[in-house]
Symmetry: C2
Subunit: 455 residues, 2 copies
């Protein structure tokens, strides 16, 4: 699909077009063949297309979106005030600062280490502050290089960087992409680690897909998984909302140790954990020698647009030749990044003050309450519901039905946008994902409509 954003509004037809026949000049630079392997997004554009069609059919419908995992609640003032103050101080001689350390402000690195890793043996020097987990995943792929092999959970996002077409699509042809996904797969494709996309099985060649379903408690049967250099593992998980237990993560770490693999543990939803599931992979003994952790302030403080995250790489994590992986990542960060914004880092530091932590817990608590409403709604209606306990995503089972049929039914009858599970991979069919990010009144209204539909 041709991205309409690249065309002038005049000529925009919002449909795929062959290259114009009036091309005056082409360079002699061949297109990077890895880019050609990427699949045009189909999940979110299709959702947007259906939503637009729905709005044309019901122009007065009050559509509620529980589809995208984007935060909706204001950032606590203790945090925004710190950013405003840092911003003002940049206008003073004493407060001004230029380039900061690429790895992040020393104080922020120390605060992240002590807040999230307490006595787990991760210290300030192991923390690399980022402009978000998605960005660091891409830098990690650069680190691993094109010969690395990777494994990902299924469901996850088989096709990434998918354009999301907003409600105004019909009029403006603006195309936006989905933001919440860490681009494990697409960044791997771009790096040249994968084979071609195999349409029949909806998978890329050379990627190991780890099937996660209710049957295996959303934890892969590791005895069936081939060794890869890198294992991307997200817990609490997006989209299933499931959280790996201590025992499961111990298995995962043992699996990585047996294979000499590196786990890239995505803990972006760890603050949503309400039981004693591990919040960090480093809670598992032996993990520091086989794992790194990627995380973010996005879903804790509402920083999806503010941009701040981090990656923790223990000094014990070594390549086969004994070279420390953190040392190469340091070089990547220094070459390909210039540090998160100093203003934003001041916000991160405020997040980790006593008052800031309390404020973040309150934000998380709000979405958690939303999640409970959604879980209770579907449970009371007799559905099998997964996730939700430790994550802001609810994974609702509609056995024997196609995800897209359920999506269509819900949209048609309730004006609610959800996400069809099959869009996240073959193992997701028969499910829909309901996101708990939304204003409370919308979630309550959505609950009312779901109850009316499935009563």
């Amino acid at each position: 699909m041709v991205s309409p954003s690249l065309k002038s509004p005049r000529s925009c037809k919002c449909v795929a077009t062959a290259p114009s026949e009036t091309i005056a000049y082409k360079t002699k630079v061949p297109r990077n063949s890895n880019m050609a392997k990427l699949q045009a997004g189909y999940l979110f554009p299709e959702i947007a297309r259906r939503r637009s069609a729905h709005l044309l059919k019901y122009p007065d419908a009050q559509v509620i979106s529980l589809g995208i995992g984007d935060t909706t609640e204001p950032i606590p003032e203790v945090i925004t005030s710190a950013m405003a103050m840092r911003s003002h101080s940049l206008s003073t001689l004493e407060g001004y600062s230029g380039y900061g350390a690429e790895q992040g402000d020393k104080k922020l690195r120390a605060a992240i280490a002590s807040t999230f890793y307490g006595d787990l043996g991760i210290d300030e020097a192991d923390i690399f502050v980022s402009d978000g987990a998605k960005c660091d995943i891409s830098r990690l792929q650069l680190l691993f290089g094109s010969n690395a092999t990777i494994a990902v959970q299924d469901p996850s996002y088989p096709v990434r960087g998918i354009p999301r077409i907003p409600l105004t699509f019909v009029h403006t042809c603006t195309v936006m992409a989905t933001k919440e996904e860490k681009a494990y797969v697409d960044s791997s494709v771009i790096m040249g680690q994968t084979g071609l996309y195999q349409k029949d099985i909806e998978k890329f060649g050379k990627i190991e897909y780890m099937r996660c379903t209710p049957e295996n408690g959303f934890f892969p049967d590791l005895s069936t998984i081939s060794r890869t250099d890198v294992i991307f593992f997200c817990s609490p998980n997006n989209p299933t909302g499931s959280t790996a237990s201590r025992e499961q993560l111990t298995q995962l770490v043992q699996f990585a140790r047996d294979n000499g693999s590196i786990i890239v543990f995505d803990s972006a939803y760890a603050m949503y954990i309400s039981d004693d599931s591990p919040r960090s992979i480093f809670e598992i003994p032996g993990a520091k020698e086989v794992a790194m952790e990627v995380s973010s302030f996005s879903k804790y403080a509402g920083f999806t647009g503010v941009r701040l995250g981090w990656t923790a790489i223990p000094k014990e994590l070594l390549y086969s030749d004994g070279f420390p992986i953190a040392k190469d990542f340091n070089r990547i960060v220094c070459t390909c990044f210039n540090g998160a914004s100093n203003i934003v880092q001041a916000g991160g530091l405020a997040c980790l003050s006593a008052e800031g932590l309390e404020a973040m817990r309150s934000v998380v608590g709000y979405y958690r309450e939303n999640t409970k409403i959604i879980v209770d709604t579907f449970t009371s209606l007799g559905f099998k519901v997964y996730g939700g306990k430790n994550a802001p995503y609810v994974w609702v089972h509609f056995p024997g039905r196609s995800s897209w049929d359920v999506f269509a039914e819900i949209l048609e009858k309730t004006h609610i946008v959800t996400t069809p599970g099959s869009g996240f991979g073959p193992a997701g069919d028969g499910f829909i994902r309901v996101s708990a990010f939304g204003h409370r009144e919308n979630v309550i209204e959505a609950s009312r409509r779901f109850k009316q539909l499935y009563k």
Copy 2:
């Protein structure tokens, strides 16, 4: 050199060490061989080592640094107020926003297009807002892929992402990297585009180095340059301060058209141009079919720590198969980036208001005045001085002398840190770079000391 930041302060010896013999476990993941090709930085660590030694010898010396190209002057209030206001608004229901477009806020893209490209045929849709030029250079390398061939100016930074060791080095072992360089070469090495580093000629294999010296007016003799897929070209130039004329850029564009190459034009210092040299490559007819442009707010508004830049990719720029390059870059940006911080983008928009533009011109004017003082100083002392007119860098010629000897002489006798030209590449020997970023009183004092030394 082992990065001391990765070692605990206890064990830090600030020297290269072999991997510890007490290694308990190594993964079976081989190190990315491209990372192994990177050279340990020698320029800035060596400068820092000498500065530290100097401070040990003269503990009371008032050292002035004109070495690093980092901004020192406060950001105008019209800009920081806008960022503070945006920050505060994120604490309100009406003002809050989550994920923004990866390509940047529509208004900011439009303002960049109209401010910097006026009637040059670059519009909003061609602009990708970034967190800085260095970061976008790395994303561009991902775009081009490992089979692309590149050309760079010599002098430029032959070795990038070089650790800069601050004054506190001796005590804290903190290592910071230099920030000002766009990592053309190192990012190319990381992508696997280059051969090995050839120590004897101080060059990487498979990179085309374009020699720029006073003899050729700091513009390469294109008849001697081999075709490459990509030509990185920075004008006004860092480190030489030279600016390519309209005629020279017309030659460059013709060269690219003849070869079917892509010019990546780095215009991060364009606002420093005081004559009628082109501020954008797109001022050259035919450039839109062979060039893209990378730029930044860093040196205009003092945003080196705030982080904001952009890349302009015309829709006319096509791969050999006719596929639009901007379309693939859009995919890269959506996969590997999540947009610049919304707070920072509000600052960018304020920069481009009438008042903001005036304020930026005043910041640029301040450093320009510094530059004039430095140029006048060396000119009055009889030196051949290059650059400075259209760039905040002054390139002073010491014919027949080694750059490092001159550096040492200046440091020893004036306590001023400069940068030895040979550190930027073989063509830089016999020069020192004097940066005009600094407080006025320091520049005046430096001028006084230079005059005393070379009177």
